[in-house]
Point group: D2
Chain length 264, copies 4
């Protein structure tokens, strides 16, 4: 399916403010970006770079006054996410070297503290995809998904304590549980078709059976329509914008995902 995704951000800046943006989806194995626009007003020098995870990032310094960022992209993505019950756990010694760091605990995914819970949730499951599916299902049934209920990221321990959270929070807990079973897991932020209410979204991927699979405890069924804009260990790595100096919040943040026939 072809989606036209977009994000419109408006800031009111008081002092020159360095920004790092992550708002440009990249073509990869799972999605193809056929058209892409990235407007910054007023115009300032921008340097684009690829971070350690392969994400396209932009570095710039916004000047005092209004500052807006407007991105749109036409992206081909799958209508259904792949599922693979029975896909096996990959032994540590056979994991590609570049994935080993996705086994480690990170800021918002304290996987070193979730071993017992993960064992309990996945008891009797065949090691691999089925374990992650059990974790996803457990999240769906035990952690209330309340969009808009949180302003800043909290960690898996806090999510588990609160028993509720936004999409990002459910993903953090899912990732922490996977890693505690030695299954590589990573955070994804991006767009999701038909998300209610429409906003930036977050989900997670787990590496089983020799590839990454998508999991999202906030949705039902193998529904697709995902457009990734950033991958990382957790929310610390995939902020749509990182801003330095006195805090600045967007006074407008509009996200849109529209089904189109094909890229124009």
């Amino acid at each position: 399916m072809w989606l036209r995704v977009g994000c419109d951000l408006l800031f009111e800046i008081e002092v020159p403010t360095p920004f790092i943006l992550m708002l440009r989806p990249r073509s990869g194995t799972e999605q193809w970006v056929a058209r892409d626009e990235f407007k910054i007003k007023p115009s300032v020098p921008v340097v684009e770079f690829t971070d350690d995870y392969g994400n396209l990032c932009q570095r710039l310094t916004a000047q005092p006054g209004y500052f807006s960022i407007n991105t749109t992209a036409d992206v081909r993505t799958s209508q259904y996410v792949d599922t693979a019950f029975g896909a096996p756990f990959i032994d540590i010694q056979h994991l590609p070297q570049g994935l080993l760091n996705y086994l480690l605990p990170s800021r918002y995914c304290e996987s070193d503290r979730f071993n017992d819970l993960a064992m309990e949730i996945t008891m009797n499951q065949f090691p691999g995809y089925d374990q992650v599916a059990a974790i996803e299902n457990w999240l769906r049934n035990n952690i209330s998904y309340i969009p808009g209920s949180s302003d800043y990221p909290i960690s898996a321990i806090e999510v588990n304590y609160k028993q509720s959270g936004v999409c990002r929070d459910l993903a953090h807990l899912g990732i922490a549980l996977c890693r505690s079973l030695s299954i590589p897991a990573r955070m994804v932020v991006g767009y999701l078709h038909n998300l209610q209410p429409m906003d930036m979204h977050a989900w997670f991927e787990a590496y089983v059976g020799g590839r990454w699979y998508t999991f999202d405890a906030t949705q039902y069924g193998p529904k697709g329509g995902y457009v990734a804009i950033g991958y990382g260990h957790d929310a610390a790595d995939v902020a749509v914008f990182n801003q330095f100096g006195p805090s600045v919040y967007p006074i407008r943040q509009l996200v849109s995902v529209e089904l189109i026939e094909e890229s124009i």
Copy 2:
């Protein structure tokens, strides 16, 4: 200045043919890509990746029949290239580690064979930018630039023997001469505003005074309007398309560069 650049390629494919494309300009220190379109007809699965030089590449297999690739981009670039007479040669021991490989000979730049010529051309020049400017000037005066005169890349030795060549050939000889003086040099392919006749273009960059500078012996003055789409050691690394199996040549190849007010 804002340029709208574009490339339109049409192939007639007989057997399934793997391609690697390099046609998508990236935002960097010197240029900002505000809009970008990449159309492939008929649609096939595409995987995009970043190569060792940071270029965005696309891998796909074209199926028998007509196959077209159509790319356009709106890019902000400088009206004049920077010049820096007096910018010094950087001692080997102070070169950033990632640049050391740009001192080595490569397929089309046999820098190991050009030491005497380079010494002669740059005699009495202050080491650094002035040496490269002397090389660029020597190329302009000694190697006839004949657009369209060559179908496949030839190496610096052959260019020096023929005393004429296309843009790529002059760049190869310039790079070989720089490297033989221990000045890192690399190939760039891309677009150039007002190029006559309009086509893909090639030029080179040399690293002196702590940064890369643009050199182009086919042009006069510090005229800008360059849009890079690929960087590499030489033409072997920056083919606009690499195709595997029985040879296929584009039956249409249209390149366009248009001055626009600003990205739409």
Copy 3:
């Protein structure tokens, strides 16, 4: 000064156990490894790789029975660490791109929660080295350094709450405080000459004035004798050994650092 450093680990393994080791110091800007031995008994296949931080790691699967790792190295390192009062804070927009990730919070360094404390500690300090020196000094005066008091890593928040910790804990809090001021900071594990009691050690580095500087709140004065074996965001990245499956603890762990004349 030349140091002979060594680590001797003995495990009793019950089931085949995958290990990732980080015990091989690398030559770098600050240290030169002239001799290096790495013995594993009994012999098993080992694959060595370089992780995302440039650390040399070894991957292997230990078989049931005794399993020992014995490493030694002769390393030249500085007798005094460099200090640089007045070295300035580097603006975000001028930081090398590869360092931006050292501004982010990580598993054990929740820098997003330390802004107020960091501001208070560094009040009136010139931005840069002096801020980090103030943080180091504050740690020395406020967090009791109690070697051997902790078995597993705790995070900066927990350290600040306990007001005491091992070397690793003080480093975590120091890193979190630096990052909350937008100063890149990273964890180092390795050896330290004359450490009392002798053991593996941990300290931190901060990037100010255009390079990394060493800080260690557990020591006094610009005393050197450091040999790094691993760099990372925090303790999660630089475990001397990561082991997967049922927990295994070393039944012997001997660390030695000896002053030698020169490498034999």
Copy 4:
């Protein structure tokens, strides 16, 4: 088998001379370095780094006077190299992305000029390992291996014209032939047990059936005892030493490979 390998180089330096060395074998999939010594006399500051191919390199500036480098290592390597007749050619679209550059022509391997010869040599061979084995065999029968017959690298075209060469030359022609068939191929330099006469050695690897295999047209049978110290596109990337400024040749170069019981 365990080998003790070593290289002893002595230079007489006239002016301060920057060097880049590649003399330190790394542990990898095929070899394990259990002991390693690297002595430089007189002592100068050395910075070690990993190049784009994963080789450990050392950068230093030698001062006027005698300058010696003495390295030894104890390495476990296979007694026989793996062979795999029938291992299939990997289609371009399924090659790991990091290997695509091993399909490109390079300084000494002008694969773009060897298509006809490669087709002729490998006619009727099953695509993959058998093609490379046919190339190796053709080299053995058609290019005379004359150790010590060449002082500086020549390219595959020149080797094919001369019909004789040193180990490096045969490897260059083998690599060019493989790449012209779209088989990734790379150069290896290192040590070989029982090489006659003893010296640094060079051979090549080809990627078929999902992994790299060793080929060496200067030897007979699947004899092992190889210790790699550098990988690259061709000899340009894997010089044991690169030296800049006025040419300096070693006044002593001793290479040794000794069978030992086990690393001490």
